[in-house]
Each structure stands twice: as structure tokens, then as C-alpha cells.
Symmetry: C2
């Protein structure tokens, strides 16, 4: 058995000196043109050709970022349009990223009733070739999460439960006010904290293998969510393209400077669409180093 | 462009004389032994062998049930443990079921923020080889659903949004009481109704291509949810193995006897594990005919 997920992640964050994660959400139209063949995206019209381009791009991104950041989040949604070929590429990239020493979060956002959730867990966690951690949806309650805990190998793998998301319509579901005050998202946060300590192994660091996806909406609500979930590591999307400010992100950390892993996706991997003449790997390299510097400033300011 | 999804489904229900759907949730351990080879599940230890067995079983189930029911719901969770081989089998079974004339619901329960949800929709709806409808999760609000509406081909395809689920812990999320009374699930129900009429095409029948997954918890709450969602077809899981009563299921229908498609899964496809000596197709045949008869009684009693 390996070390607990939270301990592994915190140790990797310390090694790299920043709680930074690159999100890999690859879209064919945004790939460096040289990966697509002379005709551009049209050359990659078949699923196999498209997947080959995504995979070459992914391996390049992984190699560039591995020295700078502790973790990568790979979003399976961007592979599913290519059906079985896409799933194969997702798996190979997960394995390649792990082989380079990155901690890999499989952004799969699955959940179902128990016996179906078990099958999702079988597919995506605790296998030789699966990610170190996955994201799951909270709508079913603990039944949709427990099979992933069971597949976590006594906490060696992590499970990030969606708590607060970054999209515009999230508030229509997540910010509704409950009887007795407090928002629905605070109810979910308190529930996930109880799962984190009652249902799942806690590491030496005091953090559970159950974490939470929390995209800060404003500093006040984020501070309340942080206080409700002392045992959960936060996976914080939306630094960069989704426009979260440094202050908002800083409130995702506990006062000891631990407790969050901050993710930027499009702003790191699509630098070439902003500066087409430049070598794409040099662009990713620079953007990744800048991300690390920004996140260090956030942690130290927090 | 084809007919609207709701009109197609209602017409298929009328043709078969019952709003019945078979859920296909295949587990290797429950397959008829003759499909697994002489050594049983151990013979199907490789992903490829396992997937071959699931696929033979699936084609058999489809052929047996197609004369009796209008629809099949295929749960992708049961294919994902087998990675790319599993996704290939899921796709081929979806296509085979459609070719036999069944309406196919891809039970994928996906959702993400907009640009990621778009990729899930690209993978699972509106393709030549994809399902007639899919299930999606409501946690992101309309942003997680709109890309599926966009992929619906002006309503030719359907999108069932998870509203009330059947699992034991569902209540911890879905039954929490809101400020001003009413449960969270009623809030979601009202929201999905507004999407169904404001965001999505409504068919000649008056039903939208946006439907809802509603597993009745008791007759009172189900009656309230039905009243909140007059424009939504309900996909009702849990008839049979999940133990919903006829009374509870009857409240999912509108007073005109339309408005719901009732699904049974394990009680139909796993008859052989209850009567091992019998030909498995004969068992599925009998269970499917009994399902249709039971659901007819429910509709007429409602």
C-alpha cells in the first residue's frame, strides 16, 4: 500500500513549492497548427487522427509542466467525443503523466446510485492505469461517493466532491437559501466534511482522501465554506480563464497556507492561440512558470 | 429532421401499449453461465472477453424485449470498467437497439460547466450512432444541460435531468427544506420545468424534449413534483429491484395517463440467477411480458 493521497499531494506541493495544477481540456480547434497537419483541424477529421493530435499535444504539455507543478487535472469530457479512441488516449495520458511523477486528477464528474457508482469507480480509480484521484458529483449523497472511497485503497487515492462550481448558472442550484438560513452549498459542504472524517481515511496531515471542488464565488461565502470543511483539500478551478481573483482564491487556503490546489487550464495550454508565431512548448513553459509565481504570491498573501 | 423526441416516445408507447422501459445494467457475475465460457466469470478475466460476453448478452436482451416495450435504457457505468473495449460495446449496443426500433436512452448522468458539457454532448447525443436521449445531472444548473439541448437536433433527441433519485442517501441532498418551505428537489423540479418550456423545443404532444428522472419516494411528494412539471416526461427508475410500489409509480403520470416511462432493470435481465435451470432468453421474455402487464395495470389504476 502506498501513502495516503492527501499526504502524497501535500508532499508534492512542497517539493514543487506551489499548490498549482494544470488543467488539460484539449480542444482540436485550439491545438498548435503543426500538430494538426497542413490542412488544420480538417486534416484531423477522423476520430483516430484527432485523437493522435490530442495525444501528442498532451504528452508535450505533460513534459513541459512536470518540473514546475505537482499535479495535472485531465478532463475526460474532451476525450469522449472520440469514443473508444478517445478513452484510450485519456488512459495513456493519465499513465504518462503519472510516469513523469505528476499527481493526476481524473476530472470525470461521475456519480450514480450505489451499484452503478461501483462500476464507475471500477473504471476510474484504484487500477494500475487509473488516475490518483477523481472528481465526483454530490447529487446522490454518500451513495454516489462511497464506492469511490472503497476503491481508494485505504485512502491512497483521492475523491474530490463537487461542492461549488464556477459556471454562471451554478448559483441557481447551489446558492438557494435553506430553511434556517445558509445556502444549499453550505449544506453540501458540511455533509462532505462529515463524509471526509466519518466515511474515509484521514492522512497524517489531517486531511481526508475526500476533498472538494470549490470555485470561489466571493470571499465571504468562500471563507464560510473553508470553515465548514477543515479536513478537506480543495481543488480550485478557474484561476485564469474563469477569472477568479487572487483574494478569492486565497480564502480557499487554511491559515497555515495548506488546503488548496489551484488549477488553471485554458490560460496555460492555449498560449499559442494568443501568440501564434511562438513555439507552443515555449508558450506553455512560460505560462506555467507564471502560474506558479502567481499562486505563490496568493498563498503568501493569504 | 426527424420528429420531436417526446412525440416519438409517446407514439412508441402507444404502439407497444405500455410506457415500459427495460434498464440494461449488465454485471458479469450475473450473466447466464453459458455466455461466460466453461470457467464462469474467471474465463472472462480479460476486458475483451468480458466485453464480448456483455455484448452477446445485450444483443440477446434487445432481441427478446423489442416486441414488447418501446424503450431501453443502457447504463454506460457498466461498460466503463472495460475502458475503450467497453465504450465500443456500449456504442454497438446502442446502435443495435435503435436498429431494432427501440428508443434508446443512454444513461450517462454527465454534466459539467458549459465548454466541458459541450464535449460530453458531442460524444453522446445527436451523432449517427448515439442514443435517442441521455440522462444528465442538474448540479450545474442550465449550463450543464444547454449543450445537450443544442445537440438535440431541434428536440429530435431527449434529455432527462436527474430530479429525484432512488438511492437511500438521496434524501440527505434532495429532501432538505428550503427557506419558505418546499424541498430542494421541488426547487430543482420547478427549475427543470422552466428549462423545458423556455430553453428547449416542445413537441406536438405538449411535452418538451427536456424530461426528468423521478424516482417516487412517496405519493404525496411525487404528486407535488408531477404538478410542478407538466411539460416534462418522467423517466421512472426502480420498478422491481428498487421496490417502488404501483401507487407511487402511478402518481408519476398525468391524469390523462401519459407523462411517464417506467423502467425495470435487474428484475428483467437477471431472471436466470433466480431460476438457473431455465433458458435465459425465456426468462427475460417472461419477465418483460409481466413488466408490461404490471405497468398497464398501474396506468389504468392511476
Amino acid at each position: 500500500m502506498g501513502a495516503h493521497f492527501a499526504d502524497r499531494l501535500l508532499s508534492a506541493i512542497e517539493d514543487k513549492g506551489a499548490p498549482a495544477c494544470v488543467g488539460f481540456d484539449p480542444q482540436l480547434e485550439q491545438l498548435p497548427p503543426e500538430l494538426l497537419g497542413r490542412a488544420g483541424p480538417a486534416d484531423a477529421a477522423s476520430d483516430d487522427a484527432a485523437v493522435r493530435a490530442l495525444e501528442v499535444f498532451g504528452r508535450g504539455v505533460i513534459e513541459v509542466i512536470a518540473p514546475y507543478v505537482p499535479a495535472i487535472k485531465i478532463n475526460i469530457a474532451f476525450f469522449e467525443p472520440y469514443q473508444e479512441a478517445g478513452i484510450g488516449a485519456y488512459r495513456r495520458l493519465v499513465a504518462h503523466a503519472r510516469a513523469t511523477g505528476l499527481i493526476v486528477i481524473g476530472d470525470i464528474k461521475r456519480a450514480d446510485i450505489g451499484h452503478s457508482a461501483t462500476r464507475y469507480a471500477d473504471g476510474h480509480l484504484g487500477r494500475e492505469d487509473s488516475a490518483d484521484a477523481v472528481t465526483v458529483n454530490a447529487y446522490f449523497g454518500i451513495d454516489g461517493v462511497r464506492p469511490f472511497i472503497a476503491a481508494s485503497g485505504s485512502g491512497e487515492h483521492g475523491v474530490f466532491v463537487l461542492v461549488q462550481t464556477s459556471n454562471p448558472s451554478a448559483a441557481t442550484v447551489q446558492d438557494v437559501v435553506m430553511n434556517g438560513g445558509g445556502s444549499f452549498v453550505e449544506h453540501v459542504a458540511a455533509m462532505v466534511q462529515s463524509w471526509a472524517v466519518d466515511e474515509a481515511p484521514v492522512g497524517e496531515s489531517g486531511y481526508s482522501c475526500i476533498g472538494a471542488v470549490v470555485s470561489p464565488r466571493d470571499t465571504d461565502s468562500t471563507r464560510r465554506i473553508r470553515a465548514l470543511m477543515p479536513s478537506c483539500l480543495f481543488l480550485v478551478p478557474g484561476f485564469g480563464a474563469q477569472g477568479r481573483t487572487a483574494d478569492e482564491v486565497a480564502t480557499c487556503f487554511r491559515s497555515d497556507g495548506t488546503g488548496a490546489l489551484v488549477t488553471a487550464s485554458r490560460s496555460i495550454i492555449y498560449t499559442q492561440s494568443r501568440t501564434p508565431s511562438r513555439d507552443w512548448k515555449a508558450g506553455v513553459d512560460e505560462a506555467c512558470r507564471e502560474l506558479v509565481a502567481q499562486i505563490r504570491r496568493v498563498v503568501h498573501a493569504g
